[in-house]
Symmetry: C2
Subunit: 134 residues, 2 copies
DNA sequence: TTGAGATTTAGACTAACTCTAAATCATAGG
DNA sequence: CCTATGATTTAGAGTTAGTCTAAATCTCAA
């Protein structure tokens, strides 16, 4: 069902990789590698920690999952692979996806200012989420 | 000379903290904690690794330095404490500061989309720096 | 001069990965 | 059906960046 973008010899969507992808796809939130390891172990009891990391790298390079790195603590993984931005709640730590429609112009403006040849932009909003505001 | 923003009992700009601040202030680039440790040791030979980290936390909380965390590898420190954005070269890894004048509106737009009460925005451009472009 | 609190120090510890080498698996050729 | 070649997985050791701890040292007001 999932289309592999990545080609090259011997890069298959194995049982383990499928389990990891399944875990990420069925979750609404943004699990860490460790969360994924625990959930994947429920589907495939023998799966190892290293394999989860290997699978995450494979899936990321294949464009099937998106890795979010804030410097704080562990990377989080996201089933949403289209370009988008993140809002991080300063109270509860919740991470929410959103998309800024003006992203393309934004990238151009940032490129003009920095003199870089642009490849991608990512915006992070820090603030208080609706739940914590209430 | 540096104004302490942070007050509260017993939070002094000690010799060690001043050395750390001095290292950051005299550099054009964005050193890691380890770079800072090595440079600070040249000024204050006995300074310990832990003290550099303690000082960096102190200086950050006092608003005297800015910490940049990309998920990749170590945090970097920046003498520029005003709000600004970063461009990261995908070829050579160089990190450059720039400022987007429309940041305030941007924050509002992001807040609208995400429904968060905004506190700060940060934008990261990935691309190729002028040196690598040439 | 003293002593209470702040700060520094060395080094142990931790979290989050990454690496390694041996075992296992998948499959194309015989 | 066998086999062997390369890809993949595994357990566990290693690494990196940073935090913690407890003892030593410093500072300064009383």
């Amino acid at each position: 069902m999932p289309k592999l973008i990545k080609t090259g010899t011997g890069e298959k969507l194995t049982r383990q990789r499928e389990a990891v992808l399944g875990v990420i796809r069925e979750r609404e939130d943004h699990p860490t590698a460790n969360d994924i390891f625990e959930a994947a172990r429920r589907r495939l009891p023998g799966i190892s920690y290293a394999t989860v990391y290997n699978s995450l790298r494979f899936l990321r390079e294949a464009g099937l999952v998106h890795e979010i790195k804030f410097g704080d603590s562990a990377s989080r993984y996201d089933r949403e692979t289209d370009r988008h931005d993140h809002a991080l709640c300063s109270q509860c730590g919740k991470l929410v996806d959103f998309d800024l429609p003006q992203a393309a112009e934004l990238m151009k403006a940032a490129a003009r200012r920095s003199k870089f040849k642009p490849e991608s932009v990512h915006l992070t909003l820090k603030g208080v989420c609706p739940d914590c505001c209430a």
